[in-house]
């Protein structure tokens, strides 16, 4: 067991898979010699050599196109898109090409690849380098979408994503790269499509993802100590496939649900979960589900402004407390 940062866990997860399977290759901007702009891929070039770990030009369409063509013909590429926001400049591959290939060809072609990118705010990068793009990825049948919140999940979900025969969008959270966590020695392989209950509770369910998992956990501690509210925290981890059973099970026990989402309000992932819960667990609910999201505005850069936009521990505590005492 070693303590590892989230960023080191990225390199560990990729290295684990590259060591196992020579078909796994890795490409992206500044990922090889520089070790990544977030230093999340340090050492991979030295360990696996320049044929398997490749720097590319600033050409996101070339990166995803190359990953797709290589995946279609037998490799298992991991492609880095540096900032999640840059998916917009290669969105044709995310929206039109990669997810639809298998279906349109009646199963002749598959795209076993991983697209990993740093998303999320909190680092004062402003509106074009901070977005939570879950709903950019979830809407295309054929894609899978995961987002780890801890170093051990980074390693395990990376392994699961690389080994999965379908294309996987792997959302890392930039504000989590520096966090540390225990990671067991040896091979770690997790399972896509599984949520985790990180804190059992009885009074309400906080359904969260990525950075928001940490805020939900902190909020749950304060709700307990300050208000005697025992909140359950569910880390969704995998948006597609979605582990609805774990979420529905939680709501059945607590009878109250809150989603904690970093994304702007409209069509955030929580909306889909609320819809499922409304359809299938309506009579488990003691009150309407509540979505805690960013307001529907672009993310501002300045400290005070950005902190007001992204759901904070205070906001989660206040929302839950007021809702439960209403």
């Amino acid at each position: 067991m070693a303590e590892l940062t989230y960023r080191d866990a990225v390199a560990r997860g990729i290295a684990q898979e590259m060591a196992r399977d020579p078909d796994v290759v890795f490409l992206g901007e500044d990922v090889a010699k520089a070790g990544g702009v977030f230093k999340a891929t340090v050492g991979l070039l030295e360990q696996f050599g320049p044929l398997r770990v490749r720097d590319t030009p600033i050409s996101e369409q070339a990166i995803l196109g190359a990953a797709m063509g290589a995946a279609m013909t037998g490799l298992k590429p991991i492609a880095e898109i540096m900032f999640a926001d840059f998916l917009a400049v290669c969105y044709d591959y995310v929206a039109n090409e990669i997810p639809k290939a298998r279906y349109m060809t009646n199963g002749q072609v598959g795209c076993p690849l991983v697209i990993r990118f740093g998303g999320g705010g909190g680092l004062r990068f402003g509106a074009q380098h901070s977005q939570s793009v879950e709903n950019w990825c979830m809407q295309f049948p054929g894609l899978k979408v995961v987002s780890p919140s801890s170093p051990v999940d980074v390693v395990g979900l990376m392994a699961a994503a690389v080994r999965d025969p379908d294309p996987v969008m792997f959302m890392e959270h930039k504000a989590l790269y520096a966090i540390k966590g225990e990671v067991p020695d040896g091979e770690i392989v997790d399972t896509l499509g599984t949520a985790k209950i990180l804190r059992p509770g009885t009074d309400c369910s906080l359904i969260a993802l990525g950075l928001m998992v940490h805020r939900a956990l902190a909020a749950a501690e304060r709700l307990q100590s300050e208000f005697g509210i025992n909140a359950e925290v569910v880390d969704v981890r995998s948006l597609v496939p979605l582990d609805t059973q774990t979420i529905l099970g939680s709501v059945a026990r607590t009878n109250r649900m809150f989603t904690v989402e970093e994304n702007p309000r409209l069509l955030g992932w929580g909306a889909e979960i609320v819809s499922i819960v409304a359809d299938e667990a309506f009579y488990d609910l003691d009150a309407p589900p509540v979505r805690i999201t960013a307001p529907h505005i672009p993310l501002p850069a300045a400290d005070e402004l950005e902190d007001l936009v992204i759901p904070s521990v205070d906001r989660v505590v206040d929302t839950v407390r007021r809702s439960l005492s209403a």
Binding site: V25, L51, R52, R54, T56, P57, S59, Q61, A62, L64, G65, A66, A67, M68, G69, A70, A71, M72, T73, G74, L75, P77, D92, Y93, N96, E97, A101, R102, Y103, M104, T105, N106, G107, Q108, V109, G110, P112, P141, G142, K144, D164, P165, D166, G193, V240, P241, L242, D243, T244, Q245, I276
Partner: protein
């Protein structure tokens, strides 16, 4: 040895009769199948849209004839010709266009997405420019594994003005990928003349130097020229010397798509290009090399029979079973996104 581009003059030249007969037959298959697709559209048996290659057959045929088994084809939405040229049956292509159960993808792709992996046809791509980068990826796999195959990527002149084209050319050049980019310059991007919207005369070839590649413009209506040029490009790719960008000049006899009567073309242009019809050129070429009128007529009759039989088979085929609707979204064969 590099082969010289240009029309053949010697009777026992580098191409030979068998290859020429193959190229003629391929061009004829494409011509008749495309003409049939057009007819079936007007009988309302083919829906949606489709983009014909009538007038452009020499490129698909000349390239395919120069390819080896295992080489990979990436086409655009105007991809019937390139798919047929790799040996996919007329019945499977027409069946797909007609939405029948005997179609290449059982109707799940349609005209713009013809794919037959067993023939090396790795897909037809309907968003301009995307597949140039995808072809790079397939070529990267070949390079990485030390495999011999080359990826060929067809596209139209209009593609040269989208960013994906330039990303792919640079990427292929810096990684020295075994990929051949074939620009079919038919003079019109869709409805607009390419010259009106492009800063250089030759939209592909005049950009080649930006990527350190030789400038290559050829007569795309002469299958021999296409064949020789491609053979040299394949040699270069297999030798580890990287990509080629070839601009083949041609002309489509019909409009951009089914919806386009092509009224924007100046008077006489179509007629002038019909004098340079690739099949007409190639019949003369065959005769020049001693193939008789009777031999040519026999090929024509045989191909027409194939297309007729394919048409009847497609008309008789059932429409695709709805069972396929929810299959192959994900690799487990299904479409489940939740538990």
């Amino acid at each position: 040895m590099p082969r010289k581009a240009g029309p053949s003059t010697a009777p026992n030249d580098d191409i030979g009769e068998a290859k020429r007969l193959e190229m003629y037959r391929l061009q004829k298959v494409i011509r008749d199948a495309e003409q049939r697709a057009n007819d079936l559209f007007f009988q309302n048996l083919i829906k949606g849209t489709s983009h014909l290659s009538i007038g452009q057959e020499a490129i698909a045929a000349g390239v395919a004839a120069a390819m080896e088994d295992g080489d990979l084809t990436f086409c655009t939405y105007r991809g019937h010709a390139h798919t047929l040229a790799r040996g996919v049956s007329v019945e499977k292509v027409l069946g797909e266009l007609m939405g029948r159960d005997n179609g290449l993808m059982r109707g799940k792709g349609g005209s713009m997405h013809l794919t037959s992996v067993e023939h090396g046809v790795m897909g037809s791509y309907a968003i301009i420019g995307a597949h140039l980068n995808i072809a790079c990826g397939a070529a990267w796999r070949a390079q990485y594994r030390g495999a011999r195959d080359v990826s060929v990527c067809f596209f139209g002149d209009g593609t040269t003005n989208i960013g994906a084209f330039h990303e792919a050319l640079n990427f292929a050049a810096i990684w020295k990928l075994p990929v051949v980019f074939v620009c079919e310059n038919n003079l019109y991007m869709e409805y607009t003349p390419i010259a009106e919207v492009t800063a250089v005369e030759h939209p592909a070839a005049d950009r080649a130097s930006a990527y350190g590649l030789p400038r290559i413009v050829i007569d795309g209506n002469d299958a021999d020229t296409v064949y020789r040029t491609m053979s040299a490009a394949f040699e270069r790719a297999r030798g580890g010397d990287g990509p080629s960008l070839i601009e083949a000049m041609t002309y489509r006899h019909s409009g951009h798509s089914r919806a386009d009567p092509a009224k924007y073309r100046p008077e006489g242009e179509l007629e002038r290009w019909k004098e340079r019809d690739p099949l007409r050129i190639y019949r003369e070429r065959l005769k020049q090399f001693g193939v008789s009128e009777e031999q040519i007529a026999a090929i024509d009759a045989e191909v027409l029979k194939v297309v007729d039989e394919a048409t009847e088979a497609c008309k008789a085929a059932p429409t695709t079973s709805v069972d396929v609707l929810f299959t192959d979204v994900y690799a487990d064969g299904g479409w489940a996104w939740r538990n």
